[in-house]
Every structure is written in structure tokens, then in C-alpha cells.
Amino acid sequence: MSMDTIDPPMVRFGRYLRDNPIIPLLVFLFLMIAVLEVLRPGIVTPFRAGRDGLISTFWVGNLIKFAIPLAMLAACQVLTMLTAGIDLSVGVVATVSAFVCATLSAIWGVTPAVLIALSAGLFVGVVNGIGVGLVRVHPLIMTLGTGLIATGCLQVYQRLVINAGTEIPAFLAWLGTGRTAGMPNGLFVFIPFALFILWLMRYTGFGRLLFALGSNEQAAKLSGVRAWQVYLALYVLSSLIAALAGLLYLGMIRQTSLSLANPLLLPSVAAAVIGGTSIFGGRGSFAGAIVGALILRVLDTMLTLMQLPEGVRTALFGLIILAVTALYVRITGTR
């Protein structure tokens, strides 16, 4: 407020950025890519290393490939954060769906395996939705709890199928590791998915209900919103997205483990937050979260390239997340 009198252009610029939060994020992304290019000349622009091409499709493809599952899980966080919630079960749900799919493919074939994997996600979503929507448990606690339970179930399930062996469905491997024109095949799933989420948030009644509930739940309820139905649908959707992301991730990693996608949970929250989604609800954008996921991946590459000890890498990762969000809060003046 005091800045109004000191530096009006700066304030106007800040307001412009607040209305278009994606711009500073994109600037930051390209800045990071530039730093990366300085650190290791030729990684992004191969002609400097004496090879053909202006931009390395291999590098960009890799970047996008590994950002896809993260961005999908970030979508879960963006959607739930719109209603001032959070979904901490997505990592486990993705792992469960990947593990179930890989083990059942070897026994019953691919189609039933994929369907069962997705319905496992659906089930967790229904439980989350009932807990948050009907019983009104805090989403943090509810999804933390279901995540714990699902982990336990997965461990028990693993003992049952321990002899069955695993099989990665061919089409998932194609989606996960294949490339078309240099770009990862995962985009065949991700682009329609991203368009769907953007459409859902911007142009549908459901999206507007999410914003309304997050901005002022009481007002939304008084205007006739049946909040529990929205919450139920929201958490089911979130878990389904997580299950789908788990399947994609399975094709990408081509290995099963009991904690496959769990390390993606906290980065997914970070991607959503960096992308300008408020954890207090009512404000958020999926486009921002996608850029957030890309930023995190570039950051990952950068820290790996610097060949720092693992401890420094982890610490820097945290510090940069904090710095980006703090800067964002400063520039846009929102929380």
C-alpha cells in the first residue's frame, strides 16, 4: 500500500503479474534453462557442442517425459487446494495402481489389470471423499490416514502375489518410454488430460463450485451448493488422476516397487504451490502447476549436473522451492 506513493509503475507491474501469474514463472523457467546451458554448454542447444539442431529434442523430450507424472499429481493438489484441501494420498495411490497393474497383468491379462488398478484408486477416492465431505475430517488427516492404510494393504497384497511375477503392459511401456518425433509418447495422454483439467476448472459448473467452496464455504453452502457431493466428486477425481499417473509412471520406470511413486508426493505439492495455487483455497491454476513441475525437473537436472553431494542437492532443492514461493508472494502480494 505504501508502495502506491513511492513507485506506481512497479505496483502496476506487480498487479499485471498478479493477474497473469504464469508470466514470471515462465521467465523463471527459461532463466533456469539458460543457467543450465551455461553450466553445461551444449546440453540444451546442441549446435554449440558441434552437433545439429538448434534445440536438443532429446533433452527437451526427457525433461517433458519426467515432468508428466509430476504434473499429473500436481493436478490433484491444485484441484483439492482450490477447496482449501490437500491430497496426501496421491503418491501411495499411484504406487498401488502401478503395482496392482504390473502384478495382475501377469495373471489375468492387461485390460482387467488396468481396470482393477484404476478401481483401486477409485476406492481410495471414495473413502477420502466420504471422510472429507460427509464426516468433515480435515483433508490433511483424512488423506494421510488413507495413504497409510493403502500402504499397509499394498504390503499385504504383495505377500499374496509374491510368486506371480510382474509384467509391464506393452502399451504402457510404449507411452512411458517411446518417442514420436522426438517428443515422449506420454504427451498423447497428457495433452488431452491437461486440456480436460483446464476446461474443467475454467468452463464447467464443477470448476466454479471448487473456486466458490474454497473462497467462502459458508457463502457457497448458503447459495445452495451441496458441498459434500462436490467434495466426494473432487476426491474421487483426484485419486483417479493419481492412479492414471501411477500407470504412466510404471511404463516410464518399468520396474515395480512398494514405494514407486511415493517420492513424487512432496514435489507435487511443491509444483502446485510454485505454480501459484494457494493452499488456503479459492485461487489456483493448473497451467502454473505444469510450469512448476517443469521448473522442479530442470532444478533436478541442474543439481545433478553440478555433481554436488546428495545432502547439498536435497538442501538446495528445499531452499529454492522456498525462495521461489517467497519471491512469488512478494511480487504478487498474495498468499
Binding site: 488427516i141 490416514g145 499397509g152 494393504c153 499385504v156 536435497t314 538442501a315 498468499r335
Partner: protein
């Protein structure tokens, strides 16, 4: 007034539950006695301290996702220091390190105005990295007296030293603060930040103090972790989830302002004893995880439903 009654009712209910569970344990395993109690208390040590720290932060209206990482930093610091120097100074250095980490968390939250969940999420990575820098692989050693301090019984069988350590650690730090102006400020800030600010509470300083206290308790947790294992382990344990569960089960409301430290500590023991009972029943440890999670969710659901009947929303 009715709020105070309900709060005490919750803690008393938990205490009754604890006694019932202890009785069940005794029924299942007639030999269960002083030594069984001692091992439960010992296993509960790091959980109890993590929960105490988390409870204070939740009361002030925040949440600290970095507790497990801070405990890891303190555990490795203790293991590295105690390999080189004798007892007491190392102990105080570790406590100081914990306090400092909490202080940094609080300062960052207040200064950057970034939501606490995000700051502590980022700091979770930072502290994890610091722990790895101090000690790359599990190692170091702890002093014998530290291990002795939590092993066995005090004065007579049936009063585990570990229980005494928990009670002392929390009483020495928390009771004087709770009775002081800072304690009142913590509850006021948690109840309604704006109202507290307008009544002259320095909200920022209160928050920083609460996070610093959380760091101090994490240092105690890290010390007990090092004492339990005899080495320093740089990878954070499962204390984040467990402490949030115990805090909520203990009657502290997420959002702040309500609850105490006694409830969460009893809740820690309830959760540990449930685990013991399931082990005694020879239940698959993996099924135990499922049952624990289900109990946690059900209890929280019941608690929320009960408080909804009051006048929360």
C-alpha cells in the same frame, strides 16, 4: 466452559482407553508386566517428543512438516559429537541445534509470509540434506550414559526411566511456558490471530517461539533416537505422520487454539500399545499398519463428528 469440559473429557476418555488397552494386553499375555511396560515406554520416546513439538505448533495455528528431518539432524549431530567429546556439552549443543532449526523455521514463516505448510515442506528437504551432510551413512556412536538414561526402571519396577524422561523433558520446558505470558500468547494466536494481534500480542514473535520450542522437542526426540539405536541415522523416520496422528487423536484441533500436551502424549502411548497388542496376537506386521491407520481415521472421524454436534460450523 463447556469447551473446557469437552477438552478434559477427551483427555480422560483417552486415559480410560489407555487403561483398558493395558488390561487387554495383560489378559492376552499374563506375563506382561514391568519389563513390557518399559519396552513400550522406550519405543514411545521419539514419538512422544515429536508429538509434543508438533502439538505446540498446531496449537499456535500452524503445522511443521519438518519434524522428522529435524530429528534426523539432531540424531546425527549427537552421534558425531558424542564420538569425540564427553557427555553434557554435546547434549546441550544438540538441544541448541534443535532450538536453532526451529527458530529458523519460525523466522522464515514470519518473514517471508509464505504459508507454514509450504515453508516447512521446503525445510523438510533442507534439514534432510543437512543431516546427510553431517553424516552420509549411519554411523557415529552415542555415550553409554545416554543409553543408560532411558533403559531400565527408576526407583522401583513399573516406573520406566523412559517414561520419566518424557515427563521431565516436557514438564521442564512446557509447564513454565504454559503458565507464562508466552503460553497465553500461543493459545491466543492459535484461536484468532487477528484478535490476538489487536489485543497486543506480538503474533510474529509468538509464532517464532512456538516453532523454536518444536525444534527443541525435536532435538530431544533426536537424542532419544540416537540413544535407542546407539548410532546416528541420517534418513528421517516415520515421525511426521505418527506425530500428526497422535496430535489429532490427543484432542488438539488442527487450526489451533485448543488442546494441551497431555492428550497427545497419552495418544502416543495408546497407539504404541495397540501395536504391542497386535504383535502379541501374532498379527502380520503389515496388517498392523492397516489396523493402525484405520483406527486413526475412525477416531478422528468420531472426534470430528462429536465436535460438529457442538457449535463449530
Amino acid at each position: 466452559m463447556s469447551g473446557a469440559i469437552r477438552k478434559h473429557a477427551w483427555v480422560m476418555g483417552l486415559a480410560v482407553l489407555l487403561v483398558v488397552l493395558l488390561t487387554i494386553t495383560k489378559l492376552i499375555q499374563p506375563t506382561f508386566g514391568a519389563s513390557g511396560l518399559e519396552s513400550i515406554a522406550r519405543a514411545a520416546l521419539p514419538f512422544a517428543f515429536a508429538t509434543a513439538g508438533m502439538a505446540i505448533v498446531v496449537i499456535v495455528g500452524g503445522i511443521d512438516l519438518s519434524v522428522a528431518s529435524m530429528m534426523a539432524v539432531c540424531a546425527v549431530t549427537a552421534a558425531v559429537l558424542m564420538e569425540r567429546m564427553a557427555g553434557a556439552p554435546a547434549l546441550f549443543i544438540v538441544l541448541g541445534v534443535g532450538l536453532l532449526m526451529g527458530l529458523i523455521n519460525g523466522l522464515l514463516i514470519v518473514v517471508t509470509r509464505v504459508p507454514d505448510i509450504v515453508v516447512t515442506l521446503a525445510m523438510l528437504f533442507v534439514w534432510e540434506g543437512v543431516a546427510l551432510l553431517i553424516l552420509e551413512t549411519p554411523g557415529g556412536a552415542t555415550a553409554d550414559w545416554l543409553e543408560q538414561a532411558i533403559r531400565g526402571h527408576f526407583l522401583f519396577d513399573g516406573l520406566p526411566k523412559a517414561l520419566l524422561v518424557i515427563a521431565l523433558g516436557i514438564a521442564v520446558v512446557w509447564l513454565p511456558i504454559r503458565r507464562s505470558k508466552l503460553g497465553l500468547s500461543i493459545y491466543a494466536t492459535g484461536s484468532d490471530e487477528l484478535a490476538a494481534f489487536r489485543s497486543g500480542v506480538s503474533v510474529g514473535r509468538t509464532k517464532i517461539a512456538a516453532y523454536a520450542l518444536c525444534g527443541l522437542f525435536c532435538a530431544m526426540g533426536g537424542l532419544s533416537l540416537a540413544a535407542l539405536t546407539g548410532i546416528g541415522e541420517p534418513v528421517p523416520g516415520p515421525y511426521l505422520m505418527a506425530s500428526v496422528a497422535a496430535v489429532v487423536l490427543g484432542g488438539v484441533v488442527l487450526g489451533g487454539g485448543k488442546g494441551g500436551l497431555l492428550g497427545p502424549i497419552i495418544a502416543v502411548f495408546v497407539l504404541r500399545i495397540i501395536r504391542t497388542i497386535l504383535t502379541l496376537l501374532a498379527v502380520d506386521p503389515n496388517v498392523t499398519t492397516i489396523i493402525e491407520g484405520t483406527i486413526m481415521v475412525l477416531v478422528v472421524m468420531l472426534g470430528t463428528a462429536a465436535s460438529l454436534k457442538g457449535a463449530r460450523r
